[in-house]
């Protein structure tokens, strides 16, 4: 009789104990894991447009401007200053991120004596054209990121940088 059962008494006990134990262990571990991975599951902070500069201060030569905003670090709010390279392309405002698309160093306009009309990254000699296009044969593989922008009452407001192309 006993032999006909598919699950033996010992097996049933093993399953029951492992199941209950596993359930209890999961109840303990799950909150801690969710607690630890919380940063990757947080919704991205929405982007506010930030007032940076008056349109009349822009020229057709790229100039560095400071973009100031508050960054939320959880229990600490930091005042951040970011540099943006801006110039006028005809009537159109162009705002480029100074972050080199190679490995994230900071580029400046015209600091390479051999290429004064280009953005230059001193880390690995990456170069970009005026419109942010990466110069072939230098380390960067894509153009400088461009800020979303908006002109309101003669002031330039910037959002966040996104890849060109």
């Amino acid at each position: 009789m006993e032999k006909n059962h598919n699950v033996s008494r010992r097996q049933f006990l093993t399953y029951a104990l492992l199941g209950t134990g596993g359930f209890m262990a999961a109840g303990l571990i799950m909150p801690m894991v969710r607690f630890g991975v919380d940063p990757i599951l947080q919704a991205d902070a929405e982007d506010d447009m930030i007032d940076v500069v008056g349109v009349d201060e822009l020229t057709d030569v790229p100039q560095a401007f400071d973009m100031e905003y508050e960054q939320d670090h959880g229990w600490h709010v930091e005042q951040v200053t970011e540099t943006v390279w801006m110039f006028l392309e005809g009537d159109e405002v162009v705002a480029l991120s100074p972050t080199c698309t190679h490995l994230g160093c900071t580029v400046s306009w015209g600091t390479d004596a051999d290429n004064p009309e280009q953005f230059f990254c001193p880390c690995h000699f990456g170069r970009f054209e005026r419109d942010g296009t990466n110069v072939p044969g230098t380390p960067p593989t894509e153009p400088l990121h461009r800020y979303d922008h908006e002109v309101r009452d003669g002031r330039v407001l910037l959002g966040s940088p996104s890849p060109q192309l």
């Binding site: 303990l28 571990i29 909150p31 801690m32 969710r34 607690f35 630890g36 919380d38 599951l41 959880g74 229990w75 600490h76």
Partner: protein, 223 residues
């Protein structure tokens, strides 16, 4: 699948005897609650260890957010408690678990005392157990300060005054604990270091000795 992974490893480094030695041992009838219900008192040692494991785990996770600095300590605790998912639960585990550990240690000590398990040849294990008790009290005391709120401050103030009341070395002891004349930034980092490095290190070492002695000497005989 799991069986095959296990066999693959076992073929190479022969883990079976290792875990059998740790996990597979006979329990005498007089400590099995299945035979004598009152034998549940023999669970307190295991429960103490279990709650200690929860304390270590939840504490490790809390340090992902906690900052031992007078400017940010309270703000970081408030953040992890209110803004991080399950923060209230994880901090709750550590907070309430601290009391549970002490209760369990106490019950375990009572059981050992009333069953006479501290007698020869187990005197050394009793001594190690008392040291463990002090270390756990120390963990409770140093952990108290870390949230850096009013309760934390005054609990530590009282603790330091008690240390100061010791004849001759009282002032030295209090200064050594506080890292100075008053409770401040130095006290907080000191208590944090003691709470997460020094005492847990000593705790794990002594627990290992405690457990090895249990396996060496076996569980004491029936009353």
């Amino acid at each position: 699948m799991l069986q095959r992974i296990y066999d693959w490893i076992d073929d190479r480094i022969d883990v079976t005897p290792l875990w059998r030695d740790v996990a597979d041992h006979e329990v005498p009838e007089h400590v099995n609650p299945g035979y004598h219900f009152s034998a549940f008192v023999y669970c307190f040692g295991g429960l103490t260890f279990f709650t200690v494991v929860i304390q270590i785990l939840s504490g490790m996770f809390l340090t992902m957010y906690y900052v031992p600095d007078i400017v940010n300590a309270h703000a970081s605790v408030e953040y992890l408690q209110t803004d991080v998912a399950f923060g209230m639960i994880v901090r709750g585990m550590h907070h309430w678990g601290a009391s549970v550990v002490i209760v369990m240690v106490f019950l375990h000590t009572l059981r050992v005392f009333f069953t006479g398990s501290y007698k020869k040849p187990r005197e050394i294990n009793w001594v190690v157990g008392v040291l463990l008790f002090f270390i756990i009290l120390g963990l409770g005391f140093t952990g108290y300060l870390l949230p850096w709120d009013m309760k934390a401050y005054f609990a530590t103030q009282v603790g330091l005054e008690i240390a100061e009341s010791v004849p001759v070395v009282g002032d030295l002891a209090s200064n050594l604990l506080a890292g100075g004349e008053f409770i401040g930034a130095q006290t907080l980092t000191r208590f944090f270091a003691i709470h997460v490095f020094f005492l847990p290190g000593a705790l794990l070492g002594l627990i290992a000795i405690h457990f090895i002695m249990i396996r060496r000497q076996g569980i004491s005989g029936p009353l």
